[in-house]
Amino acid sequence: MNVTVRCLATLAGKAPPDGRLALPSGATAGDAADALGLPEEAVAVILQNGAPADRDTRLSPDDTLSFIPPISGG
């Protein structure tokens, strides 16, 4: 299955060029993070279709996943 991926801030360089990631059926958000090379400790928040998720969240085809690092600047 294919999902859309957004990697924000310091994670942006890990996003696929076309924003799409192919994963096996039944894959989780953690599987997607691993496929992108995102270290677990680098991700503060995972969103699945705009809703909070975690590494164990099961994905569906055409989901949109967002990976966000810790952010506190100003």
């Binding site: 957004r6 924000l8 801030a9 310091t10 942006a12 400790e41 680098a42 991700v43 503060a44 928040v45 969103l47 705009g50 809703a51 909070p52 967002s66 966000i68 690092p69 810790p70 952010i71 506190s72 600047g73 100003g74």
Partner: protein, 284 residues
């Protein structure tokens, strides 16, 4: 001087005019407000509140209407906001609150300006390097005669935030390097009894969230975790992102102080200004 005396004075000093949309109204100029405050021996904001209560619009707020009704504008003048941090985000937020007509702003910041702040801090000129950020914020507030402004040139513990700011005020914001946005114990958590509007920036990524009293905070989650340099240390805090975050925070703070329901209660607005993509995320 009784409220009736002030009411009579503002009615006498008011002049007929038109709002920007052409509608007729009664107005009080900045000079008239200052003169009445001197004559009556009361704060300028009390003159403005009396005017608003009499359906007279102080001219400085004419372009706030119809964004806010006269009643809401009067509520803003009677409101207090607490700001934790008066740097990039806090300085921009202060500027917006002052111009919106928030009556009292209490701020605290323990930092001093340095040259690396010049890229984003609203109240900073190069000549102010080394000076306390809070002092410059105070000067910005005093530039607006109706705003009461108190700053503390110090870092505040969670305890200090409660005692010195949040207990007396409404909404604020956090410090760079920790959960940002309005006051709260433990670096950005909810403050019992006060709503919290918080913001953070790293590069062109912006987060703004509102935490209502007693509610769970997305701030701890968004600002915690990870190892090594923080995202903002790597990507910086460019002015467009900082000003965007400050403006969004100001929108929410002013809504709350005007008595409107929050737009982001229990939610965080995430903006990627690189792609101009926005997500509103609900946290339970």
């Amino acid at each position: 001087m009784t409220p009736a005396d002030i009411d009579r004075a503002v009615r006498t000093a008011a002049t007929d005019g038109t709002y920007p949309d052409g509608g007729a109204g009664r107005f009080l100029s900045v000079a008239a407000v200052a003169a009445l405050a001197r004559e009556l021996g009361c704060p300028a904001r009390e003159v403005e509140r009396a005017a608003l209560a009499a359906a007279i619009c102080p001219l400085r707020y004419a372009r706030n209407l119809r964004a806010f009704s006269l009643e809401e504008q009067a509520r803003l003048l009677g409101a207090t906001a607490a700001l934790i941090g008066l740097g990039g985000l806090g300085g921009g937020l202060l500027e917006n609150l002052v111009r919106a007509g928030v009556g009292t702003v209490r701020g605290a910041d323990g930092d001093v300006f340095d040259e690396t702040n010049l890229n984003r801090q609203a109240s900073l000129r190069n000549s102010r390097r080394g000076r306390a950020q809070g002092r410059a914020g105070g000067q910005a507030g005093r530039g607006r005669q109706s705003v009461g402004h108190l700053y503390r040139p110090q870092r505040l513990s969670g305890c200090g935030r409660h005692a010195g700011l949040a207990r007396r005020g409404g909404r604020g914001r956090g410090r760079p390097g920790r959960p940002q946005g309005p006051a709260g114990p433990g670096g950005g958590g909810p403050d019992p009894g006060h709503s919290l509007v918080t913001g953070a920036v790293a590069g062109y990524t912006v987060i703004v969230a509102t935490v209502m009293p007693g509610a769970c905070s997305p701030v701890e989650m968004l600002a915690s975790g990870g190892a090594g340099p923080s995202a903002e240390e790597v990507l910086g805090c460019p002015s467009p992102a900082v000003m965007t975050a400050a403006a969004l925070q100001a929108c929410e703070v002013v809504r709350l102080l005007a008595g409107r329901p929050p737009a982001l209660a229990g939610k965080a607005l995430l903006l990627d200004l690189e792609t101009m993509h926005a997500d509103t995320v609900a946290f339970s």
